[in-house]
């Protein structure tokens, strides 16, 4: 259960800045909730990662009535900027004094003045096609030109629109228009029993399936006051680390695609395929869907599977080492990745960056260690940190983490509690009107699900903060100063999800 300090709209900005303290406690989530039907008013919630006494310090600001407005936090806390634009889009609550209050989630097709996450908005009501604008700032000067790219790209990747302002080959400014795959999932689960909503939460993102399933399940279990069986916790960690491993192995290969290094691409793709097939044997699905369920896990790891996993890891470890040796010793490759796409430590802290991107820029943070959950406090692993903030640093963080993941999988495989134990507890009815959070460190960083319950164990409001959310603005900071042909490489080195943030 989370605790929130209640503040008035006038006090919010000062209180938030004091907790945030220049980034010492990163702003991890900020969202609105329409509570007019509960105690009247709209509420703004801010969660700051702490980890000292409690995982999060919460602030709740109630706005009693119109005008739906509060003073923007973005001037003090740059990481608040996107959250506030989203709140403005979806709830029509205005962060007064926001330096850049353009639309974010809703595009030109959405009529102004209609706020889909307010409770009085019926999700089934037809919404007419609109033609408003989605302004992208101009960069002016002699010889400056624009290169528009996307949303449909040349390769098989997710949709985003990038507008590069160029002086010759050099990027001066990058504006990213995202949220093309916005499905309105947070609204689509409202009113559903949490047991049904789970399947939608699990499908927010393919590559972060386990992480989202785990975060949602933990939020539910926290509200139910239920303890997950020990063996199920082990299997959860196993699934989460298998997810990290296939992502990292695949992303190392994909990064080679950013420089056209065919040998690296092929080996990376081959290793990933091997892991995807292992996933299918473990969970019946190549993305490990169906393994984590609220209350535990759906399947056990049999003795035969234990042997299977250990065998694959044994071979993969040497195989991946061999691939990394090739990358480490290839000067043509190193030339491209070293000093490319630098994200400074200051920028990473200001934007609240997480995961691989943060750890490659000198930010020593990992939710598995700092905001402990599941079995991680009992397991032995290192958190690799690099300081150069470039493409190479993000690559080497991934490489080190892949081997740490192998180590973690081995620890749970050989430390599994006795076979035959319970795998899943039955969850009691959830208290109505309660709120809590679940979180997990995905291959890209921390994913957080904040859940408020309605009557009969239904979802009143779900807010999902994915790791890619604070990291996307970091891409726009890392790209300028590089040449435009290096952008795919910089982008691949962050390897962020669109589906995760668009949701």
């Amino acid at each position: 259960m989370l605790e929130y300090r209640e503040v008035s709209p006038d006090e919010l900005r000062k209180a938030a800045a004091a907790i945030h303290n220049g980034g010492a406690r990163p702003l991890t989530a900020m969202f609105a909730n329409d509570e007019r039907g509960l105690d009247g008013g709209m509420a703004i919630y801010c969660l700051f990662a702490d980890g000292d006494k409690a995982p999060f310090i919460g602030l709740k600001c109630r706005i009693a009535g119109e005008p739906w407005e509060y003073p923007s936090l973005a001037p003090d806390i740059p990481a608040a900027s996107w959250y506030e634009r989203e709140i403005n889009d979806l709830f029509g609550i205005v962060p007064a004094g926001h330096p850049d209050l353009r639309p974010l989630v809703l595009h030109e097709n959405w009529p102004r003045g209609l706020y889909p996450l307010r409770k009085d908005f019926d999700p089934r009501q037809p919404v007419a096609e609109a033609a408003t604008d989605y302004p992208i700032p101009d960069v002016e000067g002699q010889g400056v030109f624009e290169v528009p790219v996307g949303p449909i790209h040349a390769g098989i990747i997710e949709p985003g629109h990038f507008r590069f302002s160029q002086a010759g080959e050099n990027i001066i400014n990058l504006e990213a228009k995202l949220f093309f795959t916005h499905r309105g999932i947070e609204k689509a689960v409202e009113g559903l029993p949490v047991a049904d909503a789970f399947y939608r939460a699990e499908r927010i993102c393919g590559a972060c399936t386990v992480s989202h399933a785990l975060a949602f399940a933990q939020a539910v279990e926290g509200l139910a006051g239920a303890a997950v069986p020990a063996r199920a916790e082990s299997v959860r960690v196993l699934a989460a680390e298998l997810e990290r491993l296939y992502n990292h192995a695949g992303d190392i290969g994909n990064l080679c695609a950013g420089v056209g290094f065919a040998v690296g691409i092929s080996h990376g793709a081959r290793l990933k395929e091997r892991l995807m097939r292992l996933n299918e044997r473990v969970a019946g699905n190549r993305f490990l869907r169906g393994m984590v369920v609220p209350g535990g896990v759906a399947m056990d790891v049999t003795a035969a599977l234990t042997q299977d996993i250990a065998g694959v890891l044994h071979e993969l470890e040497g195989d991946l080492k061999g691939l990394l040796e090739i990358l480490h010793e290839n000067n043509a490759f190193l030339d491209r990745v070293n000093t490319t796409g630098i994200l400074s430590t200051r920028a990473a802290v200001d934007l609240g960056a997480v995961g691989v991107a943060a750890r490659a820029s000198g930010v020593n943070a990992d939710w598995r260690r700092d905001l402990p959950y599941s079995l991680y406090p009992k397991l032995d692993f290192k958190v690799p940190v690099y300081h150069s903030g470039d493409v190479a640093a993000r690559l080497w963080v991934r490489a080190d983490e892949a081997f740490q993941a192998i180590g973690l999988i081995r620890q749970v495989l050989y430390g599994l509690p006795e076979v035959g134990g319970e795998l899943r507890v039955r969850l009691p009815e959830l208290p109505a009107g309660a709120s809590g959070a679940g979180w997990s460190e995905s291959a890209r960083g921390g994913n957080l699900h904040w859940l408020m319950t309605g009557k009969n164990s239904t979802v009143y409001r779900l807010f999902v903060r994915s790791a890619s959310y604070p990291n996307w603005p970091a891409v726009a900071v890392a790209a300028p100063g590089n040449i435009i042909p290096d952008f795919p490489l910089v982008n691949k080195s962050f390897e962020l999800c669109y589906a995760c943030i668009d949701r």
Binding site: I152, T181, G184, A188, R203, N330
Partner: protein, 236 residues
């Protein structure tokens, strides 16, 4: 350089036939119904997150296009009437597929991907088709960078409001005769996330679909099965 050559030689050829990947025992493929055991209790239909199960009279049918293969119906069935089997070859042709088009396309196919609002899982499985194990090019099928070079669009995801224009424009930019494949449950049914202000439906809510490939996501061999089906190249 020597290490690189050594690794290439040591690894050898890893390419396999498209249907060579074994189907593991836990794999959740087609849902089969033992009608004689079914008690008609309706639990499965109520439990299905996407409404893929329909009961008419005493007959229970599963719409595989809408199924997300989550296993919940099998779990709640007290009569053990429902099972997931290992069948992943579930692609089916839309009503409007013209055999004439297949004749024109012959033995090669150029494919453009359109993410219409996917979770990226289907997209990653499409990426896997180009890995050295599946090596899609061995079948004369290629992914191309522009719809203007394409014979077929592979559409992933439910169609979102924000991608409506992009899907329409991509379809229009593809020269006729053209084919559309709806990849995965989202594109094939549009029901994965229920009703939403941001979702229009499946791919066929916007463009005519010629082939549907169920799965959440479909494994790579299920995608190649769908491609072979549309090209009429399956061994009979």
């Amino acid at each position: 350089m020597l290490k690189m050559l050594r690794k290439i030689i040591y690894t050898g050829t890893v390419t396999e036939s498209w249907d060579a990947a074994p189907v593991p025992p836990r794999f959740r493929g087609a849902v089969t119904v033992a009608q004689n055991r079914c008690a008609n209790c309706g639990r499965c239909a109520a439990a299905c997150p996407t409404g893929a199960i329909a009961i008419t009279g005493e007959t229970l049918t599963v719409d595989h296009r809408a199924c997300i293969f989550c296993g919940r119906c099998v779990e709640v069935c007290e009569q053990n009437a429902l099972q997931h089997n290992g069948d992943y070859q579930l692609a089916s042709l839309g009503e409007e597929l013209q055999t004439r088009i297949r004749r024109i396309l012959g033995r090669s196919l150029a494919v453009r991907h359109v993410d219409a609002g996917s979770c990226n899982a289907c997209d990653w499985e499409m990426v896997a088709l180009s890995n050295p194990v599946y090596d899609l090019q061995q079948y004369g099928i290629d992914f191309v960078a522009s719809p203007r070079h394409a014979d077929m669009l592979m559409v992933t995801g439910v169609v979102t409001r924000n991608l409506t224009q992009a899907l329409r424009m991509t379809y229009e930019a593809t020269p006729a005769p053209k084919l559309v494949m709806a990849v995965g449950s989202c594109a094939a049914s549009g029901k994965t996330f229920g009703a939403s202000y941001a979702i229009r439906g499946g791919a066929d809510a916007l463009v005519p679909v010629d082939v549907y490939v169920p799965g959440c996501p479909p494994r790579p061999s299920a995608l190649i099965y769908g491609l072979m089906l549309v090209l009429d190249r399956l061994k009979r």
